[in-house]
């Protein structure tokens, strides 16, 4: 029988999660294929929620389809697109469809995506949404009404990993106090900086799963440094990428080295490869992580 993500969190195993995006359109095949590439390699698959504010299929529905195909899923919930009524409806829907894990985040602003004129909702922030899910699991909706059947989830949240950003660290603590049981992070390239983050993390008992995005070129690294908040690729890595004959392979090497280091510092890694998971099993093997039983 498939073990749940919660079982993995409660084990002493190094955890691997990976991201899969819903389709833009009704053709689900590419999403199912991407998930199949990592079958047996990951403890759970995160399904993104209109990621980067680009419209795609509902992650709740994709979560159900992937569960039917035998995958354990973590459905992401952003605060951008739904008010408190719609969020609660979808939380109940996710529960009744058998989805066991949610991961909550604020969500990129609509102007970052492909429907720049969309109304930004943000009725709740991520801390408030975590509190709400906790309250629903206790059998009540946000207004205090009793639920006929309470949902049950393992809930997580996200974080950047810069210890110096004190306000981010305060918010992270609030997320955990509001019920977050695991934390998935932005992509880590600065392993030392990540160590400082772990040192200043107030809840050593809460599993931290470090984000990994394999580099594909030096240009990608520079682009991320200039444009992606919370990511810092050091000069040394950029020159390695520049000098590499096969930059994609070099990016995987770098990621594998990071994973080996991160393994000593946190509970798991979260793979967010650009363009799908075709290299994910290979990368995990390079990092010395074997497939699950």
């Amino acid at each position: 029988m498939l073990s749940t993500f919660n079982d993995a969190l409660n084990s002493d195993r190094f955890i691997v999660t990976a991201e899969v995006a819903p389709p833009k359109g009704t053709d689900i095949s590419a999403t199912l294929e991407d998930a199949d590439l990592i079958r047996g390699w990951v403890d759970a698959i995160n399904i993104t929620d209109n990621q980067h504010a680009v419209m795609r299929m509902s992650p709740v529905v994709v979560g159900k389809l992937l569960m039917d195909a035998g995958h354990e899923v973590i459905v992401q919930f952003t605060c951008r697109d739904r008010n408190r009524l719609a969020l609660q409806s979808d939380i109940l829907a996710a529960s009744v469809l058998g989805i066991r894990n949610l991961c909550v985040m604020t969500g990129d602003y609509p102007t970052k995506g492909d429907h720049v004129g969309a109304k930004p909702v943000y009725d709740l922030d991520s801390v408030q949404l975590l509190s709400l899910i906790t309250k629903m699991m206790d059998g009540h909706d946000m207004a205090g009404n009793e639920l006929a059947g309470a949902p049950s989830f393992t809930i997580g949240a996200v974080s950047n990993t810069e210890a110096a950003r004190r306000m981010q660290m305060i918010k992270l603590k609030k997320k955990i106090d509001a019920g977050a049981q695991f934390i998935q992070t932005q992509a880590v390239y600065d392993v030392e900086g990540f160590g400082e983050f772990m040192d200043s993390f107030t809840h050593p008992d809460v599993p931290v799963i470090a984000g990994i995005i394999p580099l594909r070129s030096a240009g990608m690294a520079r682009f991320m440094n200039g444009n992606v908040p919370g990511i810092r690729v050091g000069d040394e890595l950029i020159s390695r990428m520049e000098d590499a004959e096969d930059p994609v392979q070099e990016g995987l090497e770098i990621a594998a080295e990071s994973i080996r280091e991160l393994r000593k510092m946190c509970r798991g890694v979260h793979m967010m490869p650009i363009g799908g998971n075709s290299n994910t099993p290979k990368l995990l093997e390079m990092a010395g992580i074997s497939a699950l039983q």
Partner: protein, 204 residues
């Protein structure tokens, strides 16, 4: 102060193109201070519209467009307004709407109303208050995240701020950066530890 900016003249002209007698009303409060509805702007607007071939029968600057209290008051202030078939208001949206309560012809806005803010000299400071109707600004040291953070986040920043700037507009400081700095300065960082509940959105 209510922050507004002038609409492009071509847009104003399009609205008035088929009118025969336009009357212009400015406002001597916020719009005048921002040079989008004071005496000189009303005069300039009047001559520009005339130059474009549309008849303007007069103009006046109300003491405050939002406190015009009756049709009689308006007609006393500007008797010619009775003959107008269109009124162009150079004020904020609330001033324009208030004027519309007292005239029975088309009322057109000359300005786009943008936010509740302030002016420091000639510099306009946007989004200081979003008029939520339940002021909790003291919890944030006087920097309101409902107004200054595009995501209205009450418990800390999103992951999108970069170098202290906002994900949504890199020209703008992240509201949470400002809140932190301000609370540090006044020795009230303790306020940040509190979890803030979602606001009831009762006021619309």
């Amino acid at each position: 102060m209510i922050i507004s900016s002038s609409k492009p003249f071509s847009e104003i002209l399009d609205m008035l193109m088929d009118k025969e007698s336009v009357f212009i009303i400015g406002c001597s409060v916020c719009a005048a201070k921002q040079h989008v509805g004071g005496e000189p702007e009303v005069e300039e607007m009047s001559s520009n519209i005339k130059d474009a071939g549309v008849n303007v029968i007069g103009g006046v600057v109300a003491k405050a467009a939002c406190s015009v209290r009756s049709r009689e008051y308006l007609e006393e202030l500007a008797p010619k307004i009775k003959d107008a078939d269109a009124v162009l208001v150079m004020a904020c949206g609330s001033g324009t709407s208030n004027i519309a309560r007292f005239v029975d012809v088309d009322v057109y806005p000359a300005n786009n109303t943008e936010s509740l803010g302030a002016m420091a000299g000639d510099k306009i400071i946007h989004h200081l208050c979003a008029m939520c109707g339940q002021c909790t600004i003291a919890e944030f040291g006087g920097v309101c995240p409902t107004a200054q953070c595009p995501k209205e986040l009450l418990n800390g920043p999103c992951g999108g701020s970069m170098d202290g700037k906002c994900e949504v507009d890199p020209e703008k400081d992240c509201a949470w950066e400002l809140i932190y700095e301000r609370l540090e300065r006044i020795g009230r960082l303790d306020l940040l530890d509190e979890v803030r509940d979602a606001k009831d959105r009762l006021v619309k």
